[in-house]
């Protein structure tokens, strides 16, 4: 029976490997053949509907409000794209884990889901010009606000495991003691209890939190390398990519993303935050 089980395991593994290779072969072919999975701008216009992948639980970038309506900074831009293309808009709920697959299979035309540009992702999808940027931020109690990284030497900094903050401080500031947590809410409780002197993660996250929690200030709003957030389309869908790039460039005239900020992010980040530390206009960082 044992050998039998082994044989079946081997067989099924072979089957899966076969499916997997078949998948990659096909996607290689798809880009050169006529049976490409993406839709060009003309095809989208002809169909009358554009499908845009957004987050449904990442307030304030893409979320569904209490009335079931899509809201947020990404959604605001999505609505404008549909309007300027002159087509109806269909939102497709996506997750961080499947954004690339949705594009690779052409199940969405564009992903607007707080998509950070990385080299690894750029091999699989095509990123347009950025419309937002994100860096690290550091939040600390009002009683002892950290305004420069040097102040943190020999102090304890709270980070969440697996985030850019953890990598950044481990590599660049080994003198700072790191206290690591698995979850964001654990990290925030640790900060509130005074188990650490400050907490660092994406600035969008700490800025929003500090505003909701009096007694804490974001002393450093922008730190480390700046990551770009951009719309993504299926690899090689140049017609749509160019259209989006032109759109982003032309929207700079009316300062569209500043307006998007006012409409969607201002409530969360308040007036204390410098708009320019998040918003990117015309794709220019």
């Amino acid at each position: 029976m044992k050998t039998f089980k082994k044989i079946t395991a081997l067989l099924s593994a072979a089957l899966i490997a076969l499916t997997a290779t078949a998948c990659t072969n096909n996607s290689d072919k798809a880009s050169s053949d006529d049976d490409q999975l993406y839709r060009t701008v003309d095809e989208i216009k002809e169909s009358g509907t554009i499908r845009i992948g957004v987050f449904t639980d990442k307030n304030p970038f893409g979320y569904v409000d209490n009335n079931g309506e899509y809201q947020g900074y990404d959604v605001y831009f999505a609505e404008r794209i549909a309007q300027d293309l002159g087509v109806a808009l269909e939102f497709v709920p996506t997750e961080a884990a499947n954004r690339v697959e949705f594009l690779e299979t052409g199940k969405v035309d564009i992903v607007l889901a707080n998509f950070t540009v990385t080299d690894e992702r750029a091999e699989k999808v095509d990123f347009a010009l950025p419309y937002m940027k994100v860096a690290l931020g550091i939040v600390s109690p009002d009683s002892d606000v950290i305004t420069s990284v040097e102040q943190l030497t020999d102090k304890t900094l709270i980070v969440v495991k697996g985030t850019t903050a953890e990598t950044y401080f481990t590599e660049n500031y080994p003198a700072i003691k790191l206290q690591k947590y698995d979850e964001y809410n654990e990290a925030y409780s640790a900060l509130q209890d005074g188990r650490g002197d400050a907490f660092s993660t994406d600035n969008t996250e700490v800025l929003a939190w500090a505003l909701q929690n009096p007694g804490f200030t974001v002393g450093i709003e922008t730190l480390g390398s700046i990551d770009k957030i951009a719309p993504a389309v299926t690899k090689d869908n140049t017609s749509l990519l160019n259209w989006i790039n032109d759109e982003i460039a032309s929207l700079a005239d009316e300062q569209f993303f500043h307006k998007a900020y006012d409409e969607t992010l201002a409530d969360v980040y308040g007036t204390a935050v410098d708009k320019e530390s998040l918003v990117v206009e015309g794709g220019v960082i």
């Binding site: 039998f4 099924s12 499916t19 996607s27 079931g68 299979t105």
Partner: protein, 222 residues
């Protein structure tokens, strides 16, 4: 806003219910088809044809080894890449859960029939029962009694596993809950407990009647 107010704010409760309906619909369709196909396959597995037995065994192990999430990705994204065929998220979910449910049901049916002692067959035949009579009056009642609790167990497992389908873009009840919690994360930070509480009750409301049903069906056979 207090946490409990979030449940009934806007359309939230209706959205939770329609999310639950998505969960229930997909599970029930899958379970229904799985039972039919699983019975056929399970019966085939108890037969004597070695080729059929090996084939069923390979299918069963292949389904079990690969996690359901991987099957969902293969069915939803993989099929589109391979063939260009664009299944909806719901259709892909029903297919995957049926593939899984059929395999598990078949194995349960096989073991239920297998657990009937051989003398039950022999005694039946010696009483002069035909093969059909033997199965209807002797074997099936005993086999079903073993089978029901396991089938119900499988059904509740399938209902709970549907939480995975939000990863292929289907918004089921748990995803609706996460959306509601997130939409209110600044106004009502403690909403999570309430929302998950309601979802817990909803899952319970669906799964508990199944347990009751199983209990009644097994009692009657006594």
């Amino acid at each position: 806003m207090e946490g409990y107010e979030v449940i009934f704010a806007g359309n939230n409760f209706i959205r939770l219910l329609s999310g639950l309906w998505v969960t229930v619909r997909i599970s029930l369709i899958s379970i229904g088809i799985s039972l039919i196909l699983g019975f056929i396959m399970g019966t085939a597995m108890t037969g004597r044809n070695p080729f059929v037995k090996v084939l069923c065994r390979v299918y069963l192990e292949a389904v079990r080894i690969v996690p359901q999430l991987v099957w969902l990705f293969i069915m939803y994204f993989g099929i589109t890449r391979l063939t260009g065929l664009n299944l909806s998220g719901e259709a892909a979910s029903v297919i995957v859960f049926t593939i899984w449910g059929t395999a598990e049901t078949a194995d349960l049916v096989r073991s239920a029939f297998g657990s009937i002692p051989i003398h039950q067959f022999e005694s039946g035949f010696s009483l002069g029962l035909s093969k059909i009579q033997l199965y209807i009056f002797v074997i099936l009642p005993q086999a079903l009694k073993n089978l029901f609790p396991n089938i119900i167990n499988l059904a509740t497992r399938m209902i709970k596993t549907t939480a995975l389908i939000s990863l292929i873009g289907v918004t089921e009840v748990l995803k609706v809950g996460k959306q509601i919690i997130d939409a209110n994360r600044y106004e009502a930070p403690d909403a999570a407990l309430w929302v998950y509480g309601v979802i817990f009750l909803m899952y319970f409301a669906v799964c508990f009647p199944l347990s009751l049903l199983s209990r009644r069906l097994t009692e009657r056979k006594d």
